[in-house]
Symmetry: C2
Subunit: 232 residues, 2 copies
DNA sequence: ATTATTATTTGTCAAAATGACATTTAATAA
DNA sequence: TTATTAAATGTCATTTTGACAAATAATAAT
């Protein structure tokens, strides 16, 4: 087999920054690392890119293996490739951020796997450059969520406007005016109001909404401005 | 030395999608590939990531080596990692897009190196998945340029408003209303009007402007909306 | 010297979007 | 019947936007 002679070869890994929302707070999914070095330390969900898969494939595979989750929203963040980022041998890692609805998978997580949710601001020390990855992912999530309706990926099929607003506030670490928020969200035309109400949060109850998936897909690239006084 | 046993190792390369503006059209910098396979075919400027450098370092090095250019605006695009994208052996490539002022480097290019500028829409067939990289880079350039003032990176220190508008029109492949454009650009507060005029384009001449670099750096992340009816 | 030419520059106005702010409403609990 | 509490909705002044045309400055032509 012909080769590009003399060029160094490296390991290539993927690491997934998995965000979730439990209805109240933004959370981050971490696992205890299963191999040396730094075994049993908290880590992002990751793994090596296999011989017959792309990094995208690898991220999906690794996510599924570690959490049982399939069909998750995944987006490439960036590559992390400082020569000494892994002390054992040179490994480049492709960072992905993933968005999921916590409730949908809570059972699988705690039972079958060793993954655990942490409040984003209270997560433990992470191995290697994973803390940097998380910081970058949060920034990108803010950026993207300000312009595109990706946060719906973290909500259950039925959700209320107050829930949605809470999620936006968590992601952007800010308070948003209820009236203006609901006006903006309505004007996107992405929501369909349901009959049912969520009575858990108040006496009056809040109407459930669902996403208009056709419009969501069709207008995903459409430019929104969901955050007031947006400074990216 | 300890190693992660049994994991496959790959080559890692960088490829740079270099955009330039000659005052009239948006152009793309290509080189004739210097090694087998596909030797002498048109290719993006690329190279392998060396043992002691990050991909970012490699991109800068490769750009400098191939063009003499230093301190260029570089931004990571994404990783390209389909298993069979390189027929010789598995190589993952980190795509970067770069923005430069054509005139600043025209001499070096034609004399010392084998790089050549092509109209973006009239570039030759490219090797491997480089055409896809170019397409992705154009898209990302449009996206980013709609929200952040990166296009100034492609202009000389002194430039005119009509030039700037032409550049925006090229990147977005659209016509923009002169009055609205100039109003928006002015409102950013990023431009400083000079005494001198550019008489080359008209009898009346167009005033030169320069970038207020302090404000540029300070407000780079600030959110702009430079394209009318923005659909990303 | 006057006029024509041509790209540059600037102006207006109605419509839409935004941000700041308070009241009403629906359901349960007291 | 009233009190309570979160949800839902309304108003208004300001700013931004998009569509549209006229004025200006310099040279070229007559």
């Amino acid at each position: 087999m012909i080769e590009y002679s003399g060029q160094p070869h490296y390991l290539v890994a993927v690491d997934c920054i998995v965000f979730g929302f439990d209805g109240e707070r933004l959370k981050l999914l971490l696992v205890k690392r299963g191999l040396e070095p730094e075994i049993n330390k908290w880590s992002l969900i990751g793994g090596f890119v296999g011989a017959n898969e792309s990094p995208d494939d690898a991220a999906n595979r690794v996510l599924k293996k570690n959490t049982g989750l399939e069909g998750i929203y995944l987006e490439q963040l960036q590559i992390y490739g400082e020569p000494d980022r892994d002390p054992i041998e040179r490994t480049l890692s492709v960072g992905y951020f993933a968005l999921i609805d916590i409730h949908k998978y809570e059972a699988q997580l705690s039972d079958e796997y060793h993954a655990e949710w942490f409040l984003v601001n209270e997560s433990p020390k992470l191995i290697f450059d994973h803390a940097q990855m998380v910081a970058d992912a949060r920034k990108k999530l803010r950026y993207k969520a300000a312009l595109h309706p990706i946060l719906f990926e973290m909500l259950p099929k039925k959700f209320t406007i107050p829930q949605l607003q809470l999620l936006f506030e968590e992601v952007n670490d800010t308070k948003i005016d209820t009236r203006n928020f609901s006006r903006k969200i309505s004007s996107t035309g992405l929501l369909i109001k349901l009959e049912e109400k969520d009575k858990s949060g108040s006496k009056k109850g809040a109407f459930y909404f669902k996403l208009d998936k056709k419009k969501y897909k069709a207008n995903f690239q459409a430019f929104l401005n969901l955050i007031p006084n947006l400074k990216l």
